[in-house]
Symmetry: C2
Subunit: 191 residues, 2 copies
DNA sequence: AATTTTAACTAACAATTGTTAGTTAGTGAA
DNA sequence: TTCACTAACTAACAATTGTTAGTTAAAATT
């Protein structure tokens, strides 16, 4: 059952994810998805339950990967600065592996229906964990004493937008990117 | 003709802008907009030409304000760091005055039709100007020598996402926010 | 008072939406 | 060979979409 080769269902989700990034969930029709695969819209329903379900699969799977990553970082016992570097790396990794899906995660989460409260819970907990790390860093004197809200917003929105930027640089080295981002986000650009 | 009081057309645009932020352009119907105003969808067409036209008005007007702001900064003769601070202030100002419209600018620009090339031109030029300032800063030794692409991406995506964050803090002082952001974006958070 | 203008309305349109029902050709297992 | 299964198809559906036409009551202008 679980083959290495892509199942038809996975293909639908992959194609849909790319279309969702280009036009947004609401502007993509089932006929668009079908046409991209060279079949008819009705045929999609042999493999998936609904359009909603495609979106849910994309978003929840990604959100849970971020949650799992944060859990590991949180309990790593590293310094706060190292935890922040690990968060940066987590975003670079997941974003580069899911450049299309990140768009739905960022822009189409409000079109989740039953799963909306669950998504919001995951996101809130992620942000709380992030903020806790920053607050500890301030408390221990590792970080400057600026409002952790503003700090988190600034860093997290940069990381959340990585998907917009990674595909533009085909030759990009992800390790370099992680290093450069860490430097910029942690130490600033001012000499 | 040009009264201080809001015209019906302006009211439509204001209401639509808010709905576009909540659900995205494609998911908002003319009947949604009309319902929010307590009238019927057909009545909207006494004041506006099309749904497209509402989006165009929102996005192009905002994009042109950013272009105008950048033009002023570019030719100010200030140091690069001060130019960057001015850009931060520009984004805080325009974002706080247009928290709903910024969402369309960021997420619904691809649904522009005739005006899409013009929008893309404005955006490219803005980013080129931004990058030039960074490159000059590096050349003069004001800024650290990291890829200006990564620097611009990091700062600009933070600034472009301000609209998501400003409304959450009702008591926010915009001057404080500008200062905090300048510190974080320019000098980092590492002590 | 007569008129034009404004801005709402109802009714309808053609196109498009997500989805279901029923059918059919091909594939692997019994 | 027979059988069940897979995955495509055509046809259709009810609902919703942006928009237009024609009407009407009130307000502004003459």
């Amino acid at each position: 059952m679980k083959n290495k080769i892509e199942s038809r269902k996975e293909e639908i989700i992959r194609v849909a994810t790319k279309l969702f990034k280009e036009k947004g969930y609401s502007a993509v029709t089932m006929r668009d998805i079908a046409k991209s695969m060279g079949i008819k819209a009705a045929s999609l329903y042999n493999h998936i339950n609904s359009k909603q379900d495609i979106l849910k699969t994309i978003i929840i799977s990604l959100a849970e990967q971020f949650t799992a990553g944060m859990l590991e970082i949180k309990s790593s016992g590293e310094s706060c600065v190292n935890k922040l570097k690990a968060i940066i790396k987590l975003h670079v990794t997941l974003s580069s592996q899911n450049i299309y899906g990140m768009s739905s995660l960022n822009n189409d989460w409000m079109h989740l229906e039953e799963q909306l409260p669950y998504y919001i819970k995951l996101r809130s907990e992620y942000e709380d964990d992030f903020k806790n790390i920053l607050e500890q860093g301030i408390g221990k004197g590792e970080l400057i004493n600026v409002k952790p809200d503003v700090m988190m917003f600034s860093i997290l929105t940069t990381l959340r937008s990585l998907y917009l930027w990674i595909p533009k640089k085909e030759d990009i080295d992800l390790h370099d990117l992680t290093e450069n981002l860490s430097q910029i986000l942690l130490d600033g650009i001012n000499k």
